[in-house]
């Protein structure tokens, strides 16, 4: 009698320690080898796009905070850049500098969570807490500036909600000098650990052409060797004034575009962000941060698609204005939403444990996927 075999379907999530939120992955398995991954989304759908239809333009900003809650500052940034372009207003220099500083601090904070939780997915608990400790310093900086630690509503159309406090510059410099050695420590503790390399190198390889076809952006695309960064190549705000590199994956310990590359590109990106910060913090000009805020925000009829380099990739806002105070339609191109769609491609033929490693290396935030 022949033994009957059957494919095993394993539901990972929505309640699972390492799906980074309420994501359900339906895994089809043969033994422990994955043959297919079907992601099921929508457990965190909060109707962002429907809500915006009833809001005025400034009222949308608190809602953008809640999409990618680990990079709220950058969501604000993208939205205000889009609306300012639609309105055709120039913002003061000081505002631009403060926005860049906040944006880069947010990028570091977001990458710290990404790297920390990635370590956690692989099973290393301690780096996670070290990185969260460092993230607290950034959140403190945000808190003294705008009073909130997670959902800032800081960048306004044409300006900022608050000017930076008097000791912000000093504290940021202190943070930069404090933070540099901790990157080295992270590398020694986690990045170059043999077990960690074994777990992540040669796993979940994403070739560049697949990445482009799937629209992967951000660190994930750069880890595949494509030197593309919206900050440099489709510049916005004042990013063209700063001197920084775009780190790309080189296949250090395995193949180009594997999980280790995706992880390490983020580490390098934090260093580049520090470079931008060091340049920007010395050059903040004086000025009023609210002088350019329009009294009544009523953009002309038109459409605009603007993208910014969110820590997770290319964050695009597509805004259609019908000339009223409420946006007609706002569609968000959330980087995590697009990046997640490649999961099935990456996971085929790997083990269940690798699914966790791959999912962690893509670095998704469910708030943004489901919006």
């Amino acid at each position: 009698m022949a033994l009957k075999t059957q494919e095993l379907v394993l539901n990972m999530g929505p309640q699972h320690p390492s799906t980074h939120g309420v994501l359900r992955l339906e895994l089809e398995l043969e033994g422990e080898v994955v043959t297919k991954v079907i992601p099921h989304l929508g457990y965190l759908h909060r109707c962002f796009e429907k809500h915006t239809e009833a809001m005025t333009y400034p009222q949308v900003i608190p809602y953008t905070d809640r999409m990618d809650y680990l990079a709220s500052m950058y969501n604000n940034f993208g939205y205000v850049v889009a609306v300012e372009r639609l309105l055709g207003i120039e913002v003061p220099e000081r505002v631009e500098y403060i926005r860049v500083i906040m944006g880069e601090l947010q990028r570091i904070a977001s990458h710290l969570v990404a790297l920390g939780t990635y370590g956690l997915d692989i099973g290393a608990f301690t780096p996670f807490l070290y990185l969260f400790r460092d993230r607290e310093h950034i959140l403190n900086l945000f808190e003294i500036t705008c009073g909130a630690r997670l959902l800032y509503n800081y960048m306004w159309i044409g300006g900022l909600s608050h000017d930076i406090p008097s000791d912000f510059v000093r504290l940021t410099k202190e943070f930069i000098s404090y933070f540099k050695p901790t990157i080295t420590e992270l590398n020694e503790l986690l990045s170059y650990n043999k077990i960690f390399i074994e777990r992540t190198a040669n796993v979940g390889i994403l070739p560049a052409d697949t990445a482009i076809s799937y629209g992967i952006t951000g660190p994930n695309l750069r880890a595949s060797g494509v030197q593309w960064d919206v900050r440099k190549d489709d510049t916005y705000s004042i990013y063209n004034r700063f001197d920084f590199e775009i780190p790309v994956g080189k296949g250090w310990f395995g193949t180009l575009g594997d999980c280790w590359d995706r992880y390490y590109v983020r580490v390098l990106e934090m260093e580049e962000s520090l470079k931008i910060l060091e340049q920007a913090i010395d050059q903040i000009p004086e000025g009023d941060v609210q002088s350019a805020i329009p009294k009544r925000i009523k953009p002309p009829v038109g459409t605009i698609y603007t993208r910014v380099e969110n820590p997770r990739g290319e964050l695009g806002y597509f805004i259609i204005s019908d000339g009223s105070v409420n946006p007609f339609r706002i569609k968000v191109r959330a980087p995590s939403f697009v990046n997640l769609s490649v999961l099935n491609e990456l996971c085929k033929g790997h083990l269940v444990a690798d699914v966790v490693a791959i999912l962690g290396s893509i670095d998704i935030v469910l708030g943004e996927i489901d919006r």
Binding site: T126, E136, G147, L190
Partner: protein
């Protein structure tokens, strides 16, 4: 074979390096605190529970319109000309009874959008963040200094006043049609007495 030995060596060496780091951290003072006993001092701009200073509120409804989640409900009744509503701290005379000023903190998203448009700076964020409740309804705060009965009373007063005014107007119009000049003085006297 070389690869094999290298792997073995790297496996042991990187583990030892990691162990060195964690061991070092055993003797570094902790960064966490014992929360309810020790509290972090909050910065000046901190955004927590809203507070409304009703002495200054003129009931202009701007905060409620700025709110993206509609958590502020304001109802106002016009004060009678004779009522003394007091003046705000920046010297404006108040004209409305704020019969209802409710903030639902279960809805509030602490975005601070309501704070900026306020002309008298009477709504602001405080540093109180420990206000959790067992029931959702308990998060519904009433800021109005008037009780519901008083509010009803003010409303009735206003309606009465309005009705009388209408009546007077009608009467005045009638009288005007009949004999215009001398009655005017009388009617203003009447409205005053009605107000009292």
């Amino acid at each position: 074979m070389r690869e094999y030995l290298k792997n073995t060596w790297l496996g042991i060496w990187t583990v030892l390096v990691g162990m060195k780091i964690t061991f070092k951290h055993l003797f570094i003072p902790a960064v966490t605190i014992q929360y309810p006993d020790v509290k972090v001092p909050l910065p000046e701009r901190v955004r927590n529970r809203l507070y409304v200073n009703m002495d200054d509120c003129i009931g202009c409804d701007q905060c409620a319109r700025a709110c993206p989640v509609n958590c502020i409900t304001i109802e106002t009744v016009k004060g009678l000309p004779t009522d003394d509503l007091g003046i705000t701290s920046n010297g404006k005379k108040k004209a409305l009874w704020v019969t209802k000023f409710d903030i639902d903190f279960a809805k509030c998203c602490y975005c601070q959008l309501c704070v900026f448009p306020c002309p008298t700076e009477c709504i602001y964020m405080t540093d109180i963040y420990e206000f959790s409740e067992f029931k959702r309804n308990d998060l519904h705060y009433n800021f109005s200094t008037l009780s519901t009965d008083e509010g009803e009373e003010k409303k009735l007063n206003w309606e009465k006043f309005q009705a009388e005014k209408e009546a007077q107007k009608a009467a005045a119009a009638k009288q005007k049609a009949e004999k215009p000049a001398p009655e005017k003085k009388e009617s203003t006297d009447k409205s005053k007495s009605a107000g009292e």
